[in-house]
């Protein structure tokens, strides 16, 4: 049964919440059940931001979970917090550019991607989230990359339109790196 409980976490502004939403939109487009819930509090720019996304073939019970099946960490505090919580057999995807540490666990799959560096080379460091999402989709197969791209097209604001193609390339690149 398709079922992933994923935490996206990073600094505010890195696009962790948007990457999670894009996964949720994609899940609906592929007729799966989804929930997306952010950590919310009196936040400030540069503070931490994370969300939990559940994509499943069965109706979602608890929308908030203590042990995710996958975690996508965009910065060091997120690795420290969620690295140890990933369920055995699960997946951890690390933004190597901003995380000067390794995860010592051998009971999960860990993928390191220098996402911020590659995104910068591709024209915008803020596309790191799409690289990591691409890797996640490739590694889990929970949804198809094509649907992620078509949903991105639907949900990117008018103002961000010019970044559509570069973001698609970032998704593609991330997927290649997770092969």
């Amino acid at each position: 049964m398709k079922h992933e409980e994923t935490i996206f976490s990073g600094f505010g502004g890195q696009g962790a919440l948007f990457a999670g939403q894009l996964l949720a939109y994609t899940g609906i487009a592929e007729n799966l059940y989804v929930t997306w819930i952010p950590s919310y509090g009196p936040e400030m720019r540069g503070g931490t931001a994370n969300c939990t996304v559940i994509v499943s073939e069965e109706e979602v019970g608890a929308p908030i979970i203590s042990k995710p099946t996958a975690a996508i960490v965009l910065n060091l505090p997120s690795l420290e917090k969620y690295g140890p919580l990933v369920k055995p057999g699960g997946l951890l995807i690390v933004n190597e550019s901003l995380v000067p540490a390794r995860c010592e666990r051998d009971d999960i799959r860990v993928i390191y991607i220098p996402a911020s560096d590659i995104a910068t080379e591709m024209g915008n460091p803020r596309m790191a989230n799409m690289l990591l999402l691409g890797a996640f989709v490739q590694a889990t197969g929970i949804v198809s990359l094509e649907t992620v791209m078509s949903e991105l097209e639907k949900h990117l604001s008018e103002r961000q339109r010019k970044w559509l193609e570069p973001n698609k390339e970032a998704l593609q690149k991330g997927a290649e790196l997770a092969r």
């Binding site: 609906i28 997306w36 819930i37 919310y40 109706e59 979602v60 608890a62 929308p63 908030i64 203590s66």
Partner: protein, 353 residues
């Protein structure tokens, strides 16, 4: 209509619009401010009334006024705002007019915080304002259910000329989930016969909650109680999961109710015969069904994001027929599946002795 990804606060606001909401009065407070944000655009676009009042006290009295004129009206808030509204709520109840109030509960007491909570159960279900009355209290556990309950709330409010509360929490407000909105409904043009719409050419309608004579006020109260008895007879709602063969029962509502569906699945994997009863109306409460199940199961576990408020109603309903245990988290902490599961295992051991 197709399923879309909707945030709870936006979903209930848009559901109200599509159910023919004519006027909204409110004051922003986290975790439900997205509702005001959404309505401030939508209501004006549709040439309806949206007004951000100077406080919750003002907002509820505007709701009172608009409700008297027979329009479909609503407000929404969170704990601190709800506390401010209680005087107006009692006036609305005493005047027997329909209104819908949504409370997306947050951590308390006091200013507390903005995380999810269910600690306003007593406030909403037991002490919703001074005097003898009960609002109908609906408790959604998903974005879809809060959408559906907004429609139901208007229907019940108008059918019984009563207050209807929706008891949500910060998690349902902030969560995005796949859900389907209802089709756009025409705004009702005619006003009810009792409404104060201008008395030219007819006897004036008087809406009031002041009765100086004790006998007269007792008459009003007797009529109110008769209506509440009727509501109790017809409007109790709940959902059951795998209760047929259950010998342990979880009782939980709202966000915790859905978390308990996961607890139940996990417990069943471990061979425990666990069922779940999720009240969808907190008043009237599914007391008879819980009483019945108390005769079937070996024990019950009530779980809430509070110190144990609905617990009292479950204990009252079970009436000593089986042990009733409690697990709660407070202050905005959401209980996790494995924590509740551990309590279920503990309960199983205790009642097996």
């Amino acid at each position: 209509m197709a399923k879309e990804l909707l945030k709870g606060n936006v979903a209930f606001a848009e559901a109200a619009v599509r159910n023919g909401l004519q006027a909204y009065f409110g004051y922003p407070i986290t975790p439900q401010s997205e509702a005001l944000e959404h309505l401030s655009g939508r209501m004006l676009e549709l040439d309806r009334v949206f007004l951000q009042a100077e406080s919750e006290v003002a907002a509820i009295n505007m709701v009172y006024g608009a409700a008297c004129s027979g329009v479909r009206v609503m407000t929404s808030t969170s704990g601190p705002g709800f506390s401010l509204m209680t005087e107006g709520l009692s006036y609305i109840a005493g005047s027997e007019i329909p209104a819908v109030v949504i409370n997306m509960m947050r951590g308390g007491p006091g200013l507390g915080n903005i995380q999810p909570s269910q600690a306003d159960y007593f406030l909403m279900v037991k002490t919703a304002g001074h005097g003898d009355f009960h609002p109908i209290v609906l408790a959604p556990s998903s974005v879809q259910e809060i959408i559906d309950m907004v429609g139901l709330a208007f229907e019940l409010a108008e059918k019984y000329r009563t207050l209807v509360y929706i008891a949500g929490d910060g998690a349902i407000g902030q969560m995005m989930e796949s859900a389907e909105l209802p089709p756009m409904q025409e705004v009702r043009q005619e006003r009810p016969a009792w409404a104060t719409t201008g008395a030219q050419g007819r006897e004036p309608n008087l809406i009031n909650s002041l009765y100086l004579g004790a006998k007269a006020l007792e008459e009003v109260n007797l009529r109110l109680q008769k209506k509440l008895a009727e509501i109790k007879a017809h409007e109790i709602r709940w959902q059951e999961y795998e209760t047929e063969d259950a010998d342990l029962l979880l009782v939980a509502y709202g966000t915790v109710g859905r978390i308990c569906t996961s607890v139940m699945r996990e417990a069943r994997k471990q061979g425990l015969k666990v069922g779940l009863l999720r009240p969808q109306t907190l008043w009237p409460f599914p007391e008879e069904r819980i009483h019945e199940l108390a005769g079937q199961v070996r024990g019950m576990l009530v779980t809430e994001m509070s110190a144990g408020q609905m617990l009292e109603d479950v204990e009252r309903s079970a009436a000593g027929k089986c042990p009733v245990k409690f697990y709660g988290r407070m202050g905005g902490v959401v209980p996790m599946v494995d924590e509740i599961l551990a309590e279920v295992q503990k309960l199983d051991e205790e009642v097996s002795r």
